[in-house]
Amino acid sequence: MSGFVSAPWPWYVAGPAIGLFVPALLIVGNRLFGVSGSLRNLCSAILPSRLDYFRYDWRRAGLWNLIFVGGILVGGFLAAQWGAPQHVAISEQTRLALARMGIHDFTGLAPREVFSWSALLTLKGFVSIVLGGFLVGFGTAYAAGCTSGHAISGLADLQLPSLIAVVGFFAGGLIATHFLLPLFL
């Protein structure tokens, strides 16, 4: 049992656990599992705007989502307290490929030489964090959903728009991984 708390979960525990948030949110309040809507709700709540896209009652439509996202942050914090320092056991092939691109620190959840405050204003830090974050925000708003809303909720409900979006997710991810990362890492 202590292993379950401190060690990473195998995929057959992790995947079904993630899938169960879909029925849980439906049963609690008819809410569709999704995270990127929180970005729109946050914009609507904190950036006064005359843009139609942000003019709606965010408390009624999205307060639940902002609370859910606040919970995600707390959950990440709690999980970090229980577990041993995370060392993600990626495949040797991936490790070698990343090392060839100049990644040397394989401790933690993301390489500190890219994802740290001291790296933020380097080219690789800026592109990964600032440009990457911007594309996440723009892309999920345009596509009206992210991995949770489309890849999990949408595919589980057999919705064609979600399938198109997921194909797009992977097209973009493959382009960035194989053509963009080697340019700046």
């Binding site: 995947g15 029925p23 970005l39 990964s128 925000g137 198109i164 960035a176």
Partner: protein
């Protein structure tokens, strides 16, 4: 050029006020989801790289089993005609397809960002909780991206 349909699936505002007891339930579910994102390692840049390089089945197994469990649950909810805890019928609104451009292009743009940050929106928040505090900057930048979409929306194909 026709204007995009007003039926953005996020736009229809549900006619329900959040009730007193459901808000703590969303908080609790969010906490559980943050733990699941961490223990599943789907929030790790390393795992995302491994996935986009097809060097381990782990991420695919995780996502596929999540979809399978979610799909079976939705089918079961429909078959049993389950309601929410407050007795409302459960309904998943269909997403409007439109021309499909928004899903293909928006999805691809998000995919670029997913591989660059190594995180989709849920993991961005979970990473901040995990102590990768620089991801606060990625969240702020994502808000900027969302805002720019709101600005350009009338001129983009949907």
């Amino acid at each position: 050029m026709s204007t995009p349909p007003a039926t953005d699936q996020r736009s229809p505002i549900p006619h329900r006020e959040p009730t007193g007891y459901t808000l703590p339930a969303y908080l609790l579910l969010g906490v559980c989801f943050g733990i699941a994102l961490t223990k599943s390692e789907v929030l790790s840049w390393f795992r995302i790289q491994e996935m986009f390089r097809f060097q381990s089945p782990r991420m695919y197994e995780t996502i596929a089993s999540a979809v399978a469990v979610a799909a079976a649950s939705v089918a079961l909810i429909r078959r049993l005609g389950l309601t929410t805890v407050s007795g409302e019928p459960i309904a998943i609104p269909p997403k409007s397809l439109g021309s499909g451009v928004r899903y293909a292009v928006g999805g691809t743009i998000f995919g670029l960002g997913w591989a660059l940050t190594g995180a989709c929106p849920g993991p961005l928040f979970a990473l901040v909780g995990n102590g990768v505090t620089v991801m606060i900057v990625a969240v702020v930048s994502a808000l900027g991206g969302t805002w720019l979409y709101g600005l350009l929306r009338p001129r983009l194909p949907h």
